[in-house]
Amino acid sequence: MTQLELQQRGVLNLLKCRGTPPGDPWLRLVEGSRELAMLRKIAIWWRTFQIEAQCRQTSRLLKRLGSFEALVTDYFNRNATSPFIEELSRSFLRSLEKHNDPVVRAVSQLEYAALNAQARLPEASEILWDRHPDLVCRAIESGAELPPAEPDCLYRLRISGSQPFTLTCTRESTFEVS
């Protein structure tokens, strides 16, 4: 490994808080430095800014839940982030696929589908909501309280995979008679 490779791989690992502690003297100097902490802050600040601009609904919702910055930081550390804002945004939204909050999952999937539609990427999808999707989006936009989950029912939002992109939503009962 050349010195340049050693240094660049080392800084990448330090920035992303991963890998084993470096053996190289310069990387060891960098490791505990306030300069590295600032570089990391700048990198994450830019990602936060870009995601906020591109994924408006999801970032508003996550801010409301108080988890936006932590999730962006975690996403930055764990993933090979794209330098291009659209790809970064799509990838961030995909990372929320398994989020434990059903509203976060649904809103991020909806925004992901919207970005795909903008980029003319044909991808059919189906998003399940535990409450009325339109009321959720309106509440996020206006800052009002989120509507409560509706027991014994779900909303199935289908997005067509070809142009013209269409949305259809059905309300289904999940009530089971025992």
């Binding site: 340049l4 660049q8 920035l15 600032m38 982030t81 794209s82 330098p83 291009f84």
Partner: protein
């Protein structure tokens, strides 16, 4: 290889340039009345279509609509000319698209690494000033000079991390690249001030050592201080100290062809159109005037 001196001989006064990233036609109309050149950062106007990165057609149309009134130059962000393994081929495809559509007067990139082993750093890492880095960057500059028919310039970036072991001084490293490849330089005056603040760079000694004949474009911007660091976040107008330093460089750089005021698109709302336009008028009357007065 198009050398900068041969390419620009005969321009008596540097052009005034500024950045424009699209989507603000009212600002664009005002800018073209004030500047001679618009600087396009291809990375900032990227969209995608069917999984391919493309330059957003609506922004390209905006540049086309004013291309008879102003010249165009390109300033890349994401080529990553200094990556140990490979540079960013996606950026070159964007540049190809830009060159296919417009007659660019020159193009430039940062002397930096933004991608490591295919992974984006999310920030710019300055290059260690070593023979190894010099050889790598020079090879790639020479390739760019073969690929594109206009001069290529490199811009030094601010250095945030502690200095890595070096075989060259900051100016000596730039001199070695320009003398080996014939490429020009973008001298970012605000970046010098950041390095002076953050790294203790001695600007007078740097300028005395730098081959100022290689400086083709000068960048001016304002930034922020945060937690004791001076940062290159271009969110304000140029400080008086930057303008004073710029005036000195204009007097000393014989091949300077453009002075570019840089601001972030994200800062436009904060600054306002009037402040950006006022800044351009001020720079013409102060910095560019130095060249006329000589």
């Amino acid at each position: 290889m198009p050398g900068f001196e041969a390419a620009f001989g005969g321009w008596p006064v540097p052009a005034l340039a500024t950045t424009y990233e699209g989507g603000d036609p009212a600002l664009l109309e005002r800018l073209v009345q004030l500047v001679d050149l618009l600087e396009i950062a291809p990375d900032t106007i990227v969209g995608s279509e069917r999984g391919q990165y493309i330059l957003r057609p609506e922004v390209l149309d905006e540049y086309a609509s004013v291309s008879s009134r102003v010249g165009l130059i390109a300033h890349g962000i994401g080529l990553s000319i200094g990556s140990f393994d490979q540079w960013n081929h996606d950026y070159l495809r964007l540049l190809d698209e830009l060159f296919a559509r417009f007659d660019l007067q020159w193009h430039s990139e940062h002397l930096a690494c933004t991608v490591v082993a295919g992974e984006s750093l999310g920030t710019m890492l300055s290059m260690p000033r070593t023979q190894e880095a010099l050889d790598l960057v020079s090879r790639r500059v020479e390739l760019l000079q073969k690929l594109y028919p206009v001069p290529f310039l490199l811009e030094h970036v601010i250095q945030l991390l502690p200095d890595a072991p070096a075989e060259f001084t900051p100016a000596g490293f730039l001199n070695a690249i320009t003398s080996r490849t014939g490429c020009g330089l973008v001298l970012d005056v605000y970046n010098l001030e950041c390095d002076a603040h953050n790294q203790g760079l001695h600007i007078p000694a740097f300028l005395d050592e730098l081959n100022l004949a290689a400086v083709v474009e000068m960048h001016l911007a304002g930034g922020v201080q945060y937690e004791g660091f001076q940062l290159d976040i271009h969110s304000s107008i140029t400080r008086e100290s930057t303008v004073t330093l710029a005036c000195e460089i204009v007097r000393r750089a014989p091949n300077l062809r453009a002075v570019t005021f840089e601001y972030l698109k994200e800062a436009v709302g904060l600054l306002g159109h009037d402040a950006i336009c006022g800044e351009l008028q001020r720079l013409r009357q102060t910095v560019l005037r130095q060249a006329v007065l000589q």
